[in-house]
Amino acid sequence: MRIRAALIAAGILTMLYAVVGGLADPGLERVGVLIFLVAVLAAHDAVWMPAVLAAGALLTRLVPRRHRPAVRVAAIVAASVTVVALPLVLGFGRSADNPSALPSAYGRNLVFVLLVIAAATLPAIGRGKIRRKKSERPHEGGDDPADR
């Protein structure tokens, strides 16, 4: 209990320091920071997460039950890599006077990485098939809840 109280107190003090320090820093555009905080929260909770859940539901419909674990893992890896790569692929950070910034062909590279993920997933799907043949479980294509 004492540890919990100490953690919570330290956390509140740290947040207070962030607010007071941020307000006192003339270099901080507070309105801009506040807008961005609210925007990323809203975009995640109202746009990104529903899209992820919809994608998971779609995956359940389209992918046979025995392949779902591998495909789900592949989808998580692919989505993560894409989030990191997307600003590079869009390339708004390029500038004509500085070819050393964002020097690679990121669209092509991202496609290549996604293909590598797909290729690494195929053996796992193959194993799923073999396992299934050996055990011959009866229920096929039922609604797998492990997605949404």
Binding site: T14, Y17, V52, R65, P69, R72, S100, L102, S104, Y106
Partner: protein, 384 residues
């Protein structure tokens, strides 16, 4: 004790969150990894901030030469690796957003508010960091460095509160074993996937600072060998509006000390004893590259104007008229170091104008933004 996964959270108007993968142990494991990652990012980020804005009590050594390249490389690599961790963590607790009734008490309201702050601040840090290394500033209505710094304190504060509130749940989750599910994606499978995602992101980006991996740095914003003279550039001469002043044949570097002031043209600088050092440029954005620099030791210039090179502090100013990073302060630890150069040459050739021609600062163990280019003026002050 063997238990089955937690029952889904009760929500009122959202249809259902049927995944049995969501559980307190899953949230705990991912949360622990995320907490460690945020801790690493906070410490390394705070260090970078202190080096750039040193308070009176702070001290940063000149050796080891590549320490900053490691701490900042770790900062950016760890931040990128948090993307799948944060994604799965938030997915695992998303149904709680729809808890009914939304507020049970003042304490419950405060806790939910602190979680809201934590989620917003965590997303802010990761997304703004990704945008910054991609040099895509337009979506951020604030100056990145300052915003990223203060929101880091907000995130860490909210994280401490969150750990304090959730400590019993964390302990409980670590102590118990849940029944393994025979089919579908298992918790172990999901955690393996998260680790694979973090690992793949690291493998395809960390080559921007770990040279042996540069060949597979497919998604890195920089390649350490790509740029003028085989070295990346952060700010070009044109972006700094300094090209004509830097290329002016009448260029003079003014060095002023407590007792006297001298003015040196490029030929006079070249006539001084020349030294060569292998030093990295280590950018705050997480890339780094080593190069061979040749020029005049800063301590020799300090001695030329009659100051003590063992104790002097130096301000180096660029020919730039304006700009946040047009000047930097070199503390005594770096001034006295024989590796700290006013470099005139890079790999044996005169500096490319984008690398700071006619003369730039290069010192060991220092962020790239403090390695002032296009030096116009050096002011030597006595001991602090």
């Amino acid at each position: 004790m063997v238990r089955h996964p937690d029952p889904p959270v009760k929500t009122r108007w959202w249809p259902a969150f049927p995944s049995e993968l969501r559980s307190t142990p899953l949230t705990t494991y991912v949360g622990l990894a995320l907490g460690v990652a945020f801790g690493v990012c906070f410490v390394t980020g705070l260090l970078s901030h202190l080096i750039q804005h040193p308070p009176a009590w702070f001290w940063w050594p000149a050796r080891p030469v590549g320490l900053y390249r490691v701490t900042q490389g770790v900062h950016v690599a760890t931040g990128l690796a948090t993307v799948p961790l944060l994604g799965v963590k938030l997915w695992s607790v998303y149904p709680r957003l729809f808890t009914w009734p939304p507020l049970r008490s003042i304490g419950h309201a405060a806790e939910r508010a602190s979680v809201g702050v934590l989620v917003a601040a965590a997303l802010f840090q990761v997304i703004s960091g990704v945008l910054n290394i991609s040099r895509w500033y337009a979506p951020m209505p604030f100056f990145f460095t300052t915003g990223h710094y203060w929101v880091a304190w907000l995130a860490v504060g909210a994280l401490l509160v969150h750990i304090g509130v959730q400590l019993p749940a964390i302990r409980g989750a670590l102590a118990r074993r849940t029944a393994p599910r025979p089919d579908g994606l298992t918790r172990r499978g999901l955690l393996t996937g998260v680790a694979a995602a973090a690992g793949l992101i690291t493998l395809t980006t960390v080559g921007q600072t770990v040279r042996p991996l540069s060949g597979i740095a497919l998604l890195a914003p920089r390649r350490p060998a790509v740029g003028p003279q085989g070295l990346p550039v952060n700010k070009t001469a044109d972006a700094a509006a300094v090209r004509s002043a830097a290329l002016d044949p009448a260029y003079r570097m003014v060095v002023s000390g407590p007792g006297r002031q001298i003015s040196l043209g490029l030929a006079a600088l070249q006539a001084l004893p020349q030294h060569t050092a292998q030093l990295p440029i280590a950018c705050v954005e997480g890339w780094s590259a080593t190069a061979t620099w040749t020029g005049v030791r800063l301590r020799d210039l300090v001695a030329l104007v009659g100051a003590d090179p063992e104790r002097a502090t130096v301000t180096v100013e660029s020919l730039q008229e304006a700009g946040r990073y047009r000047a930097s302060t070199v503390p005594p630890e770096h001034v006295r170091d024989p590796l700290t150069l006013v470099a005139l040459r890079l790999d044996g050739e005169p500096l490319h104008v984008d690398h700071g021609y006619p003369a730039r600062l290069i010192a060991p163990n220092r962020p790239g933004v403090l390695q002032t280019k296009w030096i116009g003026r050096i002011t030597v002050r006595g001991p602090r």
